[in-house]
Symmetry: C2
Subunit: 357 residues, 2 copies
């Protein structure tokens, strides 16, 4: 909250409306599904509804709680407008709908409708979340290690005839039993030629006798997301398949090695992209190298081509180059990496040498 | 698409931008996660990115497909603006962020920035989705019956020491194995005094020896959501608990009986609310009686107090009155009900008499 207030002062904003739930959880700890947080230079107040009376009291730090019967964001804006010295408040244009903004303005006194709410710069609160503190890193390490345990578990579950959906179901069931609150995103299980789909949903098809199998999944632990991908081989790979895997692995490791405090995201991306370009696979690598991760599965920074944002100690990013050869196969290898003063620390130490099953 | 075009004509709109994914799936069948649909009186065009080339070709009906490298909504708006006779297009203010609208306007020729995009009335496309056709009803029946099978399955899984999370995990695992694409929402398993939380997430607490247990869950099948709640009793209920359950059941059945083509949503709500009021439980029933369901878990109409919208054949709504006595217990019973010319048809025929386990 201190860093946020300094940012508000620098932006010349006496007030702030926070409605994006991960931002709100980050700033005051509340995890319910309907709330708004109002912040001024002097205080902060959380608005939520009667379903969350007990939960808000137990969870909320650094803000007073007020239970309201009108929409929380409306109550928050009206409260802000009534605070002495608050003649303007920032709102997040990336997480406020056009209809939502109209409703907020309509709830204000007529003279304030045009002037009171000001669009915040891009990722105003989100960018604070990029650098994780020790408590957050400790939870994220735990989440990442849980992911590794799930990968180890699932390797023992492949039997003839098992379908992609059954693999996903087993992985998700085990995640729940090991304490995950849920999955960070829809589990990707893509086998054989389907591994060439970067976002292959699990299907009712049985795993093939031979071919690549890509598993991309993450768990949520205490609100924080993990994210990892491994590609294994069912049967015996051909030389071309081995070479392709080796190229992706080399690219992935080069990008991990490029993670240092002060490096630009574009430099990290280029470390992976350069390796694949040299192997003639530049075209087959059709996405960015990675992204920030935390309370949301995709957060700033974007680790992509030409991105000038610089890495700072405490950031957690994914490094996940991949290649996709339509009709043939695809390969992706992904780790979560924490940026430290001494380089990148891999949070997902599951094996990356090609596993043949 | 025909009904949509008639609506556009009536609204005096020559063009329409559709970005809300369930609307887009409804109108043209595409199920990917990044797309926009542009509709004029003469044609429709789906814009998506290169990851979805194969999928868009296979799934899309009633629209041409165009693969783009800029954001699909931007491409769609630029295409609309280039169509002869299209001097204005509607956009959905409830599903367009303030930042998103700015990006769309910036992508337009300067002379069109102020005038081209017009906010649609509330639920312009969504309201078409309220009335389901025979194909949709058939999928929703199947999804609802899958829910009933899961309820039956889970009744056999309660053993001493099992936690709420393990119950949720087993239910979700079984759902996947029986063909569900996922759950419609986070499974609610709330036992003992926690049943008094209308949105009790499953916790790591073991089920108590005695008390109510509320299970509220739904599956997704071919994109359509199911939704049902049953409350069972662990051990032997006391007379007060029995009476409370009987009151909720009577309220629920009264509301189901009130479902007829032409009835207002407020009348259906009042049928349940009146019963609970008579039992002195009006205060404990703190939410609406139900909501529409379909491609999204919450759709119009809202079946709440004073709602004047009228039920039409083909609508599918939930009927889910509940009571919540903080520190004591809660009870909720929920069915999915299809509106037919001859009254309401319950799609979730799982038993509702109080089950004692």
């Amino acid at each position: 909250m201190g860093a946020l207030r300094r940012k508000l002062t620098r932006a010349g904003l006496p007030g702030l409306l926070v409605t994006h739930l991960p931002d709100l959880r980050y700033l005051c700890g509340f995890t319910g599904s309907s709330a708004a947080l109002a912040v001024t230079r002097r205080g902060a107040r959380l608005f939520t509804d009667g379903r969350y009376t007990a939960q808000a009291a137990a969870e909320t730090k650094a803000a007073k709680v007020q239970i309201v019967s009108n929409p929380p964001a409306v109550a928050a804006v009206q409260w802000l407008a009534a605070q002495p010295g608050v003649e303007m408040a920032g709102f997040d244009p990336a997480h406020t709908t056009v209809a939502g903004l109209t409703a907020l303005k309509t709830a204000l006194p007529y003279r304030l409708r045009r002037s009171f709410l000001a669009a915040l710069p891009v990722a105003f609160v989100e960018s604070l979340r990029q650098v994780k503190d020790e408590d957050e890193l400790s939870v994220m390490r735990e989440a990442a290690l849980l992911g590794c345990r799930l990968f180890e578990h699932i390797l023992n579950e492949f039997r003839p005839g098992i379908t992609e959906i059954e693999v996903a179901a087993e992985l998700e069931h085990q995640a729940r039993l090991l304490g995950a609150e849920g999955m960070s995103f829809e589990t990707i299980v893509a086998s054989g030629p389907r591994s060439a789909l970067p976002h292959g949903r699990a299907t009712a098809f049985a795993l093939p006798r031979r071919g690549f199998l890509t598993l991309d999944f993450g768990v949520i632990l205490k609100g924080y997301c993990s994210d990892m991908t491994r590609t294994v081989f069912l049967g015996k790979p051909k030389p071309k398949e081995r070479r392709a895997y080796a190229a992706v692995l080399e690219a992935q490791e080069a990008a991990v090695a490029a993670v240092t405090s002060g490096a630009s995201c574009g430099e990290v991306d280029e470390a992976a992209r350069g390796v694949l370009r040299r192997e003639g696979l530049a075209e087959a690598f059709s996405h960015s190298t990675g992204h920030g991760v935390g309370l949301e599965i995709h957060e700033p920074p974007r680790v992509g081509s030409g991105q000038s944002a610089r890495l700072l100690p405490g950031m957690v990013i994914t490094i996940e180059p991949g290649i996709y050869l339509p009709g043939e196969f695809g390969i992706r290898i992904e780790d979560m990496v924490a940026v430290t003063r001494n380089g990148g620390q891999v949070l997902t130490p599951a094996p990356k040498a090609l596993i043949e099953l």
